[in-house]
Amino acid sequence: MLKIVFNNMMRRKLRTALATLGIVLGVTVLVSIVSISTGMTQQSLDALGKLQGIQVIKKGSMDPVMSSIPIEYADEIKSMTGVQAVSKQVWVWATSIEGPSEGFSLSSFFTAVLGVEPSEMGLIKSSYSASLIKGRQLEAGDRYVTVVGKDVADEHNKRVGSNIEINGVDFKIVGIFHAGSRFIDSQMVIPIDIAREISGFPNDRISMAQVEPENPEDAQKLARKIELRMDDVDAKTQQEFSEDIGELLGTMKTVQWLFSSIAAIVGGIGVMNTMIMSVMERTKEFGMMKAVGWTNRDVMKNVLLESIVIGTIGGVIGLLLGFIGSMAINTMIGGLAMVTVELAMESFIFAVALGALGGLYPAYRASKLNPIEALRYEG
């Protein structure tokens, strides 16, 4: 039957190609878009895996960069039982690194400048100090110095001892860290006073207080205590952050699937249109097939198989193009898209199912043709 199917597809090459193209485009869009969300999920989870202690930020803030809380909160938290240390942090975006960037650059897009109190660095566990690969971390008395993530150093071709310009101010790189997460490795750590100086962040406020519990197992309990004491903050442990972000990315993935599905469904309608035309053109043939003993089911299988083959070919090509597309995205904006085996399988099954769905009605129509009327049909 496959040979009959392929022969028939080759009869109207352009039409078959266009129907396949519909599926190809749908799957390509789907793979490219979902691969970005998958990659972002992985990056976020990697970053969250490096988080330490409890992060206290303004209630409802999505990110420390958007948060601002009174500086007294840090001392208040420090006085609570079960708290070992607190680090006051000011987070600002790097609006320019080595001068205004030309065009879009992912690293500058994600680069947050993190201002910390150098004397507090040794008191808490931080993903920066834990992953220092070159140089040293900030020390008391440091002024215009920075410890940068490996991605920043690589992108701007900097080493320990090099100068780097952040928001128009020169800093000397004293250390480089590599946490293995794109989000963290795109950050820079500078003294908190200097962070205030280059951003105008008020002296009586901080972006975030990072809290080191005495006993890590009590982190969640301590976070709740902090939230009870200060009702305008969110105190979150790594696990809670993971849950929040996982939920957010899950929603994002669903929305992306939805958009991609619209593109793919257009492809499915293309298959249906092609198959309806094909069935109409071949009405006489189906009449003859039935006359020589093909059952309704045989005719249905024949049409359905053709649309499934279109879906399969479209799925394979779409998957390949989507993979190439996501690699192109990675080349352009660096390591963001990720095609997992799961995504590849889902997209492929989606394409085949779409082909099958597109062929279902035409197949049913062909199977129900009256052989005599079909034989008399003059299309």
Binding site: I4, N7, E285, M288, K290, G293, W294, T295, N296
Partner: protein, 222 residues
């Protein structure tokens, strides 16, 4: 072998535009007979052939094939009878354009044959028997009308059917080629003992048949 008992066929029964195509037709066709049915256009000869060929059901009356009442079988059972006991030859040949001669001959059994090699050999032998041994891989558009009709006869013979039903087998052929087709049908009828029922306007068919039936206004007049 084929028994048609008091068969009526009405289109749009009970409606204003009701057409009575067959009126109380009864007829017996014996095994190995060559029956020629003629009559003017619209007399019901094709309808009769469709009913004998299990492609259509009578409005009233019964049709038996080898003592099996085919007029009350379901679609699946009718398909099996058409595949195993009946071979069709159509006026317009009705070959699949994308398949070659051999594949067209194999078509009735292509989905059910367990031994494809045997099926291929059978198709080849049949095409050789109808004089197309040199055209096995040719597609229909590479064959003349007469050759295409020979392919349909080979296809009709594939399952060694009990009856070949030919609907205007010479209708689209010139008289010389048409006679060649009639000779071929007669050869199949004689050598294989296959019953042949041919519906045609071509009176040359009379020369090759055992019995000639004339249909007029849905009735057998002779």
């Amino acid at each position: 072998m084929i028994e048609v008992k008091h068969v009526w066929k009405k289109y749009n029964p009970g409606m204003k535009n009701e057409v009575v195509a067959l009126k109380d037709i009864s007829l017996n066709i014996e095994r190995g007979e060559f029956v020629f049915i003629s009559g003017p256009s619209g007399c019901g000869k094709s309808t009769l052939m469709h009913i004998i060929g299990c492609l259509d059901n009578p409005t009233r009356g019964e049709v038996y094939m080898d003592d099996v009442k085919v007029s009350s079988l379901n679609d699946g059972e009718l398909s099996k009878i058409r595949r195993d006991k009946i071979g069709f030859v159509f006026q317009a040949f009705n070959l699949i354009p994308s398949l070659n001669a051999m594949e067209n001959v194999m078509l009735p059994m292509i989905l059910v044959a367990t031994n494809k090699e045997e099926l291929r050999n059978q198709a080849k032998t049949l095409l050789e028997a109808v004089g197309l041994g040199h055209r096995l891989k040719h597609k229909p558009n590479q064959l003349s009308g007469g050759e295409q009709q020979r392919v349909t006869i080979a296809r009709a013979m594939l399952n060694d059917p009990e009856v070949i039903l030919a609907d205007e087998p010479t209708g689209e052929l010139d008289s010389k080629t048409g006679e060649g087709i009639l000779k071929l049908l007669k050869k199949v009828n004689k050598e294989r003992g296959t019953t042949v029922v041919a519906v045609s306007h071509n009176m040359l068919t009379k020369k090759y048949c055992d019995r000639h039936l004339k249909l007029k206004d849905g009735k057998i007049v002779r």
